[in-house]
Amino acid sequence: MTGTDSRYLCIHLGNDEFAIPLLLVKEVIGLPDMTPIPQAASHFSGIMNLRGKIISVMDLRVKLGMKGQSTSETTVIILDIDGHSLGVVVDKVNSVQVLSPEMMSEKPAIDSTRASEYIQGVFRRHDKIVLILDVAKALQAGKAA
């Protein structure tokens, strides 16, 4: 998924910072009006109108077991996943970061962490840990929904 591009979009979900391969990101928009889908999984925020296209929006925070509370900084990033557009609600978009391989390190081997399967690796930024997120994997369960 990461390809040869080493640029990442850093986002906040709750208090944690994550990085998403920039090439997956098509655009970043404010929190749109969404139409909820009855009986959908809890992380399925609804469908939105993106310039005439209907796009499903998932709440990554809920998906990763956090609380989904929206603030003025809450944003939707539109991702291209296998050729389909998908919106993802995140708490905050921080910056674009170029990561060289030496900056990255293996994720701490804690098997019990429930999110560990979505985490490709970690790196440090401003003395804080940033998790590299495999969005497609993180949303896999969402796809089945």
């Binding site: 009006d33 139409t35 889908i37 469908i47 005439g52 209907i54 499903s56 796809k143 089945a144 929904a145």
Partner: protein
């Protein structure tokens, strides 16, 4: 195979496919006697183009075949062979063979074909006796050349043409597309080969005085445009709602003018998807001809309203049902010549295929002047086959509709043309899938009319926007038969069957939209609106909180994560820019049935799918 070469071949096949269907009309016209030079020229040009291009891109078999084909056409053109039904039949068979070749090659670029039968038929085609000898010399020569396929077809072509100077001039034009890939193989191929093609096509249509220039645009581009325009219209309506609060009259005026413009823009861009039914109709001429021939009947077909436009996707999907109906008319509808004579009709049967717009729908009519349907006979047949219960009282229309039952076939003898008892039910299913309807009108001894009603487009539907527990949903209007607010007296709750709506002597099962989607806050049924749905096999009523209104909505696909979401056929964007789900009412009914059958609550429905 190199990519470049592959692209070249695929490009050629696309083009060949197009020109073959363009030219089929000319073959048929030949037979009906209008063997004017223009028709022959068109066919000749096609053969010549194909010959050149196919050799250039490396389809040698096709090149050899078209060479022979060209020679044969030239003989007709020069009057050595009359354009009668036997020669036209051969031409048509060659045309079919070429199409098969193109189709086969599309699937497998290395496919091989055996056209030797047709080749020798063309070579040995004899005119009645063989009285005329003088123009034969040349033809013989041409034929001799082609006996050895190794002989370069390219080189021989100009020799044949030489006597016809005017033809030569024409060929100058048509040779170009063929020559381009040869001359400049290093140039990006698709550009080189496709650019001159529209020009050639335009000149082929040249005999019509006014030639409208056309442009081929990919469907995805049109879709993108439609999306953008749709969004524009929505923004415009938002803007319009705001103008009351604006003081400047200039702003207000401009917004209103923009509104008109965006409406026009929407109409025009919607129109881009619309194509005339002509090509599909013309294919039907061929079907009638072949079917009639196979059955030894004399049947003519008349087309009207070929210019009527319809959404491209609808047109593509109506092709198969139409073929069935047309075959059916020729086979079952039109009687044998003897029978027709005995009934005092002309021996030649007539089938009319017409298209027209009627109240926002496209109506396609297949009319024959054959024997007509016998309602009583149909009913008896259906009873014999166990398709319906014996002793039912059916109206004439209901009896006619029996032919749409699966497994129904009226003719005693099964022919290879029709009569296998598949088909008519498929026809109806296909039409229903398009949100269309089909009805039958028939009079014994006078003929039968099949009338197909189709929506002009699948991209826009008339929908009823309803609310349910503060959600908004769109119900396609085609499904809604009537709406009413049920009274206490009309409602019955039955422990076995659930809630029932008694409507004018009918007992309709009542489904709550809110229940289906697991939405809470339900009102009593008397405070809600019941929508009677009759589009499915069994009528039922659906309860919703309220009706907002009736709108035309643009149908949008849902993402893959919602594709299997039951009860929903798509989504749309409402006037305020917010998305809403489009309900598939028949899904609700299925759910209702399964609930009725299985007393235990269904599992695994908490998730969206």
């Amino acid at each position: 195979m190199e990519d470049f070469e592959k692209e070249l071949k695929i490009g050629f096949l696309e083009e060949a496919d197009q020109s073959l269907s363009d030219v089929e009309q000319c073959f048929l016209a030949l037979e009906t006697g209008s063997s004017d030079a223009e028709n022959l020229n068109k066919i000749f040009r096609l053969a010549h183009n194909l010959k050149g291009s196919s050799k250039a891109v490396g389809f040698a078999e096709m090149g050899d075949f078209t060479h022979e084909f060209e020679t044969f056409i030239l003989r007709i053109k020069n009057g050595e062979i009359p354009a009668d039904s036997s020669s036209v039949s051969l031409l048509l068979r060659c045309n079919d063979f070429l199409r098969d070749m193109v189709q086969g090659l599309k699937e497998n670029l290395d496919a091989s074909f055996d056209g030797s039968g047709l080749l020798s038929e063309m070579r040995n085609f004899q005119v009645g006796g063989s009285a005329e000898t003088e123009p034969e010399a040349e033809a013989e020569e041409a034929a001799d050349e082609s006996v050895e396929p190794a002989l370069e077809a390219h080189a021989s072509a100009p020799v044949e043409i030489e006597p016809n100077l005017d033809l030569l001039a024409e060929l100058m034009g048509t040779l170009q597309p063929a020559a381009a890939p040869v001359a400049a193989p290093a140039v990006p191929a698709p550009v080189a080969s496709s650019a001159p093609a529209p020009a050639a096509a335009a000149s082929a249509n040249g005999h019509a005085a006014v030639v409208e220039e056309t442009l081929r645009v990919s469907v995805s581009k049109v879709e993108t445009l439609l999306n953008a325009v749709g969004e524009l219209v929505i923004l415009q309506s938002v803007l319009r709602e705001q103008i009351a609060s604006v003081d400047s009259s200039l702003v207000r005026k401009t917004v209103l003018q923009m509104g008109k413009l965006s409406k026009e823009l929407q109409d025009v861009s919607m129109g881009l998807r619309m194509v005339p039914v002509k090509p599909t109709f013309q294919k039907m001429q061929r079907i009638v001809r072949d079917t009639a021939k196979a059955l030894n009947k004399d049947v003519s077909i008349q087309l009207t309203g070929e210019e009527t436009e319809i959404d491209k996707t609808v047109l593509e999907k109506i092709n198969d049902p139409l073929v069935h109906l047309i075959r059916n008319s020729v086979d079952h509808g039109i009687e044998s010549a003897d029978k027709r004579k005995a009934a005092g009709k002309s021996e030649k049967g007539h089938v009319t295929l017409s298209a027209s717009h009627r109240s926002g729908k496209l109506v396609i009519e297949v009319r024959d002047d054959g024997g007509g349907l016998n309602g009583a006979k149909l009913q008896k047949k259906a009873e014999e086959k166990g398709l319906i219960k014996p002793g039912l009282t059916l109206s004439e229309k209901e009896a006619f509709n029996l032919i749409f039952l699966p497994g129904f076939s009226t003719k005693e003898q099964v022919t290879d043309v029709s009569g296998r008892g598949v088909g008519m039910d498929v026809v109806r299913t296909n039409i229903k899938d398009l949100n269309g309807e089909v009805e039958i009108d028939s009079k014994i001894g006078e003929g039968t009319v099949f009338r197909i009603f189709l929506p002009l487009t699948l991209a826009i539907i008339d929908g009823m926007v309803v609310t349910q527990s503060s959600h908004r949903f769109v119900i396609p209007l085609a499904h809604v038969h009537e709406t009413l607010q049920p009274t206490e007296a009309q409602l019955q709750t039955n422990h076995q069957l659930g809630q029932i709506l008694m409507l004018r002597g009918e007992n309709l099962p009542l489904v709550r939209l809110g229940d289906f989607f697991g939405l809470s806050a339900q009102h009593p049924a008397t405070k809600m609106i019941a929508m009677v749905i009759r589009s499915g096999p069994q009528p039922f009523a659906m309860l919703v909180d309220d009706i907002v209104g009736q709108f035309q909505v643009v149908v949008k696909q849902l993402g893959p994560e919602l594709q299997n979401y039951k009860g929903v056929s798509g989504s749309t964007i409402l006037g305020d820019g917010k998305p809403a789900l489009i309900i598939e009412p028949l899904d609700l009914r299925h759910r209702k049935l399964s609930l009725a059958k299985v007393p235990t609550p269904p599992k695994g429905e908490g998730a969206a799918a």
